[in-house]
Amino acid sequence: MGFANQLVRCLPVWPVYLLGALPGPWLFYLGLTGGLGVEPIKALEHEYGELALQLLILTLAISPLRRLLGLNLLKFRRAIGLLCFFYVLCHLLVWLVLDVQILGQILTDIAKRPYITIGMGAFVLMLPLALTSNNLSVRKLGRTWSRLHRLTYAAAVLGAVHFVMLAKGFQIEPLIYLGLVLFLLALRVPYSRWLRLPSGTPVSGRS
């Protein structure tokens, strides 16, 4: 991993923002020009949502990768997290503006339809995370910052459950996403809990 980590150290972060954001306008362009099929609104909504979920899973993978495999991608985590929020926002806007269109119905949907309530819940949890993803907030909030950013765990579970709930019939793909989220969260539970070791046994720190 030494070589990989050295390589990562040399790489700048800005291309991650650039390359990561490109699918946003590109998918929109495809939707406009027929590249997303005959029902581009649903397709675009789904593409943005799925990208957001993939990026969310990636942010959750970063600390286990470092702890278990020694691969340090920490410098990219903020970029990936903010990109995730960007796609959640795109997903939400497509739903609001292009899909449902009717304000009254949007409010009823949020209140009455559990999968939408849960999706909105994930979005609301992510708002403070996006707003505090900057150096100033990290400095000002200190230890509160890392505690605050554990909201990612809840947002990830809600996001994956949102996907599972909107599937018709028994579908595998959303369950794989939920499984990945739960697996990555399980890796964070200290070993002592798994092994029922007495408390006080030294374990590697969680993040």
């Binding site: 939707g31 406009l32 609104i41 119905q105 949907d109 599937a167 019939g169 028994f170």
Partner: protein, 270 residues
């Protein structure tokens, strides 16, 4: 009588609203979960399905039970065109120019016995040709059902073609049901069995989720799906900025079919 029904149905709305969707839209955007849950999966994989020879078993409470070959059925039936609105339970819609015959004619051929109250339908289940069936998305084979009076209604047809051509596999070749006032999943595809019974038959989506999918599943803007409103729909083909349009009671066929449900609470029998 049949042509009269079509004329009436068309007269119920301005003509341009029944301008059919394109061939690409009708054949490229399908739900046929035996081939996968993606809208493009059926058009990609359904060509694997062998549709020749094809035979439909008609059994249960009929005078002439047995296997009816597709050719035999075609030779006995008169084909006509029906341009129908098609409303998916997922709140999208199309207009499809079908060719087919009235289900009533086929049932009469089989000889419906007294005591028959329902008609059950089954889709082909052939895992070797249906990649989507490796997952138990639904309890295969796909099953649907109608009350006998719904099945005998002149708007209810068995379709064998679209746009003047034989049905493409993804649209339910060679023979499928079309019930234009019900959500699309009631219009079962690639039918291999029709059974007349005296009891309400089990139906696939109702078995999978009875809270969300009722036996009747009539298009009804006032009864929402638990996960989304059914008050409006989006016509396929409008692009990224397509506006929603209001969903019509019984999908616009209220004048023809409302009498079938007189006295029934449609929010209970949804």
């Amino acid at each position: 009588a049949a042509l009269g029904t079509q004329a009436r149905a068309e007269a119920a709305l301005p003509e341009e609203e029944l301008a059919p969707n394109t061939w690409e839209e009708v054949t490229g955007y399908c739900n046929f979960y035996e081939f996968g849950t993606g809208k493009g999966d059926p058009s990609e994989y359904a060509e694997r399905m062998t549709t020749e020879p094809w035979s439909v078993t008609i059994d249960g409470l009929v005078d002439n039970p047995g296997g009816y070959s597709f050719e035999q059925i075609l030779s006995e039936m008169t084909l006509e065109e029906r341009i129908y609105r098609f409303r998916c339970v997922e709140a999208w819609s199309m207009v499809v120019p079908w060719q087919g015959f009235e289900l009533a004619d086929l049932l009469t051929l089989a000889g419906v016995q007294e005591g028959a109250k329902y008609v059950a339908f089954e889709t082909l289940y052939r895992p070797s040709e249906m990649p989507g069936t490796i997952y138990k998305v639904l309890d295969w084979p796909y099953r649907e059902g109608l009350r006998l009076d719904e099945a005998m209604h002149p708007l209810t047809i068995m379709a064998t073609g679209i746009f003047g051509k034989p049905l493409p596999n993804q649209n339910g070749a060679p023979l499928r049901l079309v019930v234009p006032w019900k959500y699309g999943f009631k219009s079962i595809k690639s039918v291999v069995r029709i059974t007349l019974t005296d009891e309400e038959p089990p139906t696939s989506w109702n078995m999978a989720n009875p809270r969300e999918y009722g036996f009747y599943s009539n298009v009804n803007p006032e009864v929402s799906h638990p996960r989304w409103s059914q008050a409006s729909e989006r016509r396929i083909g409008g692009g990224l900025f397509a506006r929603r349009q209001p969903t019509l009671m019984f999908n616009g066929y209220e004048a023809e079919v409302a009498a079938l449900y007189e006295g029934m609470d449609l929010s209970e029998y949804f």
